[in-house]
């Protein structure tokens, strides 16, 4: 073992003997990290063998981070990071990382959460760069599961998981995390705020994943969070999220406004410039005229293709047929299938029947097709709200509402004792005419710190 790594291992083992020694270990790591990065890989591997997961997780974390750091090459011209590694070394490194995220002592690792986050991020970048993203999914999913202190806590590692899933086109591992509504952000170990890029990308990637699986309402919710995050400058991520937000809302025919209510002002001012084509599409869709929508889609096709959004635009065009068929149900009780085709400008009655069948299956309309007379009868929603399934649904929703209310009360209580809030209340109490700031204002200031 070379002197730098040897010295590192001996120091880690000595310090770790003392109880509550994690801060001292972190200081040691900060001091010796550069020398670890410069050490030969064989020495780092030997050092790993001398440390145990239970007692020396911070030391193992530092060594694995250094190993990943060594693979990083920065292009002098563009400043871009890329990675250079041989297959055998990568296999070994992934096995070491896998073993660490599964067996490492996370109580200790939380003292150096930034290093942990950076290590996982580097691994994800490396695998995406090598087009082997699928190999990292289970490791990163485990890494998120073990580092978070509660299910509703968002960590920057969530973003890496979504990025890997998108690159690998394998999404099943992401859903257990995406389906949980986030209420807290992981606090970095340094004084810095939560990485806003990681935050925005999580909601952008999450929206994309839901859009792939045609869960458009949830996708819209994710994009909306990205758009409505308080900001002082326009972020490219927010602009791209806005473009997809418009498209998924048109597809799901949700009737959402062109610009959501809580859009950051700086973003809403720049939308016409950055997403004019999408706003045009929105207006054409709302004209309900199929030919107008098609013409707008054709006109801006190069823009949509450049943004990789043309697939969603094609789904918008199909969705307008559905919207127009739904409109017919409000006017007619029965209609011939040929009439349906003519009124919504579908080429044949067989095509209209396919749309009707799909809509009946999805519960978008309540209708029955009569092939004897070539007619369709539209009905009202047959739900009587008196069955066990409906009761179970209402109880489930009630539980969610109670949980959200409880969370809000907890947050309000937490904010009302923060020094910032207390000092603000104190400054207002001198003048009774001025209303005291509410804790919800405090929440806004916290979110502004993102």
């Amino acid at each position: 073992m070379a002197s730098a790594t040897e010295k590192f291992v001996i120091s880690i083992c000595e310090i770790s003997v003392a109880p509550e020694s994690q801060n001292a270990v972190c200081t040691l790591i900060a001091r010796l990290y550069d020398s670890l990065v410069k050490s030969p890989t064989a020495h780092l591997d030997a050092a790993l063998g001398a440390l145990t997961h239970e007692e020396h997780s911070l030391g193992i974390l530092a060594i694995l981070s250094a190993k990943l750091h060594q693979l990083e090459v920065v292009d002098a011209g563009s400043g871009k990071r890329y990675y250079s590694v041989e297959v055998a070394s990568l296999d070994k490194l992934l096995a070491q990382l896998d073993s660490f995220v599964r067996a490492g002592n996370m109580e200790h690792v939380r003292y150096a959460v930034d290093t942990y986050t950076e290590m996982i991020h580097r691994m994800a970048e490396l695998l995406i760069h090598r087009k082997e993203a699928i190999r990292g999914i289970s490791i990163v999913a485990k890494a998120v599961e073990r580092i978070r202190t509660s299910e509703t806590l968002l960590t920057p590692t969530h973003t890496d998981l979504c990025h890997l899933c998108l690159s690998a086109k394998s999404f099943q591992a992401a859903f257990p995390f995406l389906d949980i509504d986030i209420t807290d952000l992981q606090k970095p170990s340094s004084q810095a705020a939560y990485d806003s890029k990681a935050f925005l990308l999580y909601y952008y990637y999450g929206g994309m994943i839901y859009a792939v699986f045609k869960k458009f309402k949830r996708a819209s919710y994710f994009f909306e969070i990205a758009i409505s995050t308080p900001a002082s400058v326009i972020s490219a991520i927010m602009v791209q999220a806005y473009k997809k937000y418009i498209l998924v809302n048109l597809i799901s025919n949700s009737g959402e406004p062109l610009v959501p209510k809580f859009t950051a002002p700086v973003l809403s001012r720049g939308l016409k410039t950055h997403a004019g084509a999408y706003q045009d599409l929105y207006h054409s869709y709302n004209s309900s005229v199929q030919s107008t929508l098609q013409a707008t889609a054709d006109k801006h096709r190069p823009i949509f293709e450049r943004d990789d959004n043309y697939g969603l635009v094609k789904q918008c065009i199909k969705s307008l047929y559905i919207k127009n068929i739904k409109k017919l149900t409000k006017t007619f009780l029965t209609l011939s299938i040929t009439d349906v085709a003519n009124r919504v400008h579908l080429p044949t009655s067989a095509e209209a029947e396919k749309y009707l069948l799909k809509m009946i299956e999805n519960g978008e309309i309540y209708a029955k097709i009569n092939k004897k007379d070539d007619m369709v009868e539209f009905h009202d929603n047959p739900e009587k709200y008196n069955n066990p399934a409906m009761l179970a649904f209402i109880q489930q929703q009630e539980k969610i509402c109670v949980a959200v209310n409880k969370k809000m009360s907890d947050m309000e209580r937490e904010i009302s004792v923060t020094p910032d809030y207390v000092s603000k209340v104190g400054s207002y109490s001198a003048d009774d005419d001025i209303a005291k700031p509410s804790t919800s204002a405090g929440m806004t200031s916290i979110s502004e710190n993102l």
Partner: protein
């Protein structure tokens, strides 16, 4: 079968999967109606896997027909293709499942549908169709099948009023506090 499916999923994620596993996984995804995921699996497959089993391409066509609700094409491909022995049982189960799903959809989406059309949708002979129709207590008149909607099965047991009352009491007491 679900366990086997999950095991294959894991193998694919771990990158150790062979073309044979890919084929079986694709068929299982169709059986469990995970159509979007099946399409993504196709995109992930290396060319060598696609070439090893031309049936993979056939399964992709089945997947596309299932998304487009083209029942006739689904059955045509499933019947015309010679399937490898290790996925043949899954393909048979898939065909049966598609038939059940089609029948269920027809039961609440149609008041009248012609015998020929329904037989084509289910890919059965008219004699077999008559058997199916009578077992579902549907009727046939002048070459038209008149389906009856079957009540939606609920997996939930009938609730006791006392349980509902307890839950209501909890909610009211929460709102009052």
């Amino acid at each position: 079968m679900k366990e086997e499916f999950q095991e294959y999923e894991y193998e694919v994620i771990e990158r150790n999967f062979t073309a044979e596993v890919a084929l079986k996984l694709f068929a299982l995804k169709l059986y469990f109606m995970e159509l979007e995921d099946a399409k993504l699996l196709w995109k992930r497959l290396p060319t060598s896997h696609r070439e090893a089993f031309p049936e993979l391409k056939q399964l992709l066509l089945v997947c596309q027909a299932m998304i487009g609700q083209d029942f006739v094409t689904i059955h045509k491909i499933l019947q015309d293709t010679v399937w490898s022995a290790h996925i043949e049982p899954i393909v048979s189960l898939l065909q049966e499942k598609v038939r059940e799903k089609t029948l269920s959809l027809v039961s609440y989406a149609y008041t009248h549908i012609s015998v020929q059309e329904l037989a084509a949708m289910l890919s059965v002979s008219t004699a077999k169709l008559q058997e199916i129709v009578s077992s579902a207590s549907w009727t046939i008149e002048n070459g038209m099948v008149m389906p009856k909607a079957t009540p939606q099965d609920s997996n939930l047991p009938a609730r006791k009023e006392i349980v509902d009352l307890a839950s209501l009491t909890r909610l009211v007491s929460y709102l009052e506090n």
